[in-house]
Amino acid sequence: MSGDSLYLDPQIRDWVLFPITLVMILVGILRNNVTQLLVSSPKKSTRSATREQRALLRAQILRANAKSSPLPPSYYTAHTDDLIAAFAAGRYLKEDPSRPNEVDEHGNRIAPAPGNMLTDPSMMEGMMGGMKNQAVMMVPQMVIMGWINFFFQGFVLIKLPFPLTLGFKSMMQRGIETPDMDVRWVSSLSWYFLNWFGLNGLYRLLLGDGNAATDQKDLATSPFAGAGAPVMNQPQDYNKLFASESENLQLAQGLYSWIGDDVDSRILRRYGKLPVA
């Protein structure tokens, strides 16, 4: 039997529903501002580091138009061979005075394997930044959860306008153990969770895209996973990247064709001197 006509004290609405929502919105905005203050300015990189990053771009630009390339064959081949040789010889790898590049049997430089996270100082900073962000996210959540648990435990807040299956009972009615109350009645803790997932859109409206109030990664890490391992971008392994780019270049060379090859026929056709093929 579904009790669908519970009468709720309007004071619950005034004193619990709106405050929880309001507090969450404000805390989200606060988190956004605090994160912006805490974020360290992007590190200045050296010329060789920038060069290494952009080397792949160079090959991609060359490959992009291979089928109707603006370059005549001799130029295209020269560029491709140049780049492949440079990738193989490791000429684009950045020079790091603290970790000189190893040299393989042909005298080509090899990129160092992505270093241990704790020993490389630049990666350490990246990790600290990530952990700082997560701390800022987690602390307010813990506090608010504790507050709700303490003050608002044991009653239902709101009836959802849409029906749900019984599976959602544990999620929607945290803290209220009744065997057959309709799942549409939501307890305060569950209302907190609902808000937490749903305010993303509101933040984007208020704070613009790219705000730090909610982060997609956080959905996985807290509060459900607790203190999981920080999710980090693995530092790029340039050896492999350059090797795969060399292969791509060779493939593209197979596809190559010069756009100037029959430009004469095309122009003549455009001006009606040749019949349209």
Binding site: K44, T50, L57, S74, D264, Y271, L274
Partner: protein, 299 residues
């Protein structure tokens, strides 16, 4: 020539168009900029654009030698943005107006602190070019482009530099990078064609003149660019029809016989049409150069 009277709104909109399209009509910019500054509510009307406007005015003032005006603008910008790299560049340009050697030192010093500052690096290269320190300029520019490959302006500058030294093959190589970065731009194709022609690689030049024409959408848009390209086509086709086996450094296959003749005829046609008496733009009905062109075309 009487200049149209300015209104605040027209001046502001002209200035912002010039900013967006990177026009460097410095006399006009200074005239309009001073007008805006003299209006009572000029600065307020600019709103948030005021800093961009000051930057634009600084560069224009330095262009035409109004150094005090530039100083004034830079001072205002410095107050607002104390440690800004952009203001550093403006300050460097101001030093360039007085003493190139000092400017060079200033840029070198700034680069020591931050070696990937693109704007300062480019100014350094510009100063080296002004001082005619060609060898060093080329070296710096090549290093710059090695790091910042996608800087189109840089490749064009390098091509210009090589061409001024008569190193046409290298100039073509630099232009080839420019073509990769902006493959649909007819101006670069035209430049490639003209450099190839100067380097005596006629078959290559012909193909790129044709490519230029192909890239120009409509006759109205690129009327002048199209005309240059048709001139190029006419020159190349007449060379090729007289000496069929011209050497080509890039081993380009020349356009073959029937097409070649057809292209020559087409080029003649289009040029006659361009210079015809109905295609004039002057109010007195005369088409400048018509007689000479028609004579050259052999008609």
């Amino acid at each position: 020539m009487a200049q149209p009277t300015l209104t605040l709104s027209s001046a502001l909109s002209d200035l912002s168009t010039a900013r967006v399209r990177a026009h460097r009509d410095s006399n006009e910019i200074v005239r309009k900029g001073l007008f805006v500054l003299e209006q009572k509510n000029g600065l307020k009307a600019l709103g948030g654009d005021i800093w961009d406007f000051l930057e634009q005015l600084t560069i224009a003032a330095l262009d035409i030698g109004q150094v005090e005006l530039a100083d004034d603008c830079i001072a205002r910008l410095e107050v607002q943005f104390p440690k800004s790299p952009r203001v550093d560049v403006l300050r460097g340009m101001r030093i360039e107006a007085k003493d190139l050697g000092l400017a060079l030192e200033y840029y070198e010093h700034t680069l020591e602190n931050d070696e990937t500052n693109v704007a300062i690096w480019k100014r350094l290269i510009a100063v080296l070019r002004q001082q005619n320190k060609t060898e060093r300029c080329v070296k710096e520019l090549v290093t710059f482009l090695d790091t910042f490959y996608s800087d189109l302006e840089g490749w064009l500058e390098l091509a210009d530099l090589y061409a001024s030294l008569n190193l046409y093959t290298r100039s073509l190589q630099a232009l080839s990078h420019a073509l990769l970065l902006a493959p649909q731009n007819p101006f670069h194709a035209l430049r490639f064609a003209e450099t190839a022609y100067t380097a005596n690689d006629i078959p290559l030049a012909l193909r790129y003149y044709l490519r230029t024409i192909e890239l120009i959408d409509s006759e109205e848009d690129g009327k002048e660019t199209g005309r240059r390209a048709w001139f190029g086509v006419k020159l190349c086709t007449s060379h090729l029809s007289r000496t069929p086996n011209l050497p080509s450094e890039s081993n380009t296959l020349p356009v073959q016989g029937k097409n070649l003749a057809a292209l020559e005829v087409l080029a003649t046609e289009r040029l006659s049409a361009a210079y015809s008496s109905t295609a004039n733009t002057k109010p007195d009905g005369k088409v400048p150069g018509r007689k000479e062109v028609l004579k050259w075309l052999g008609q």
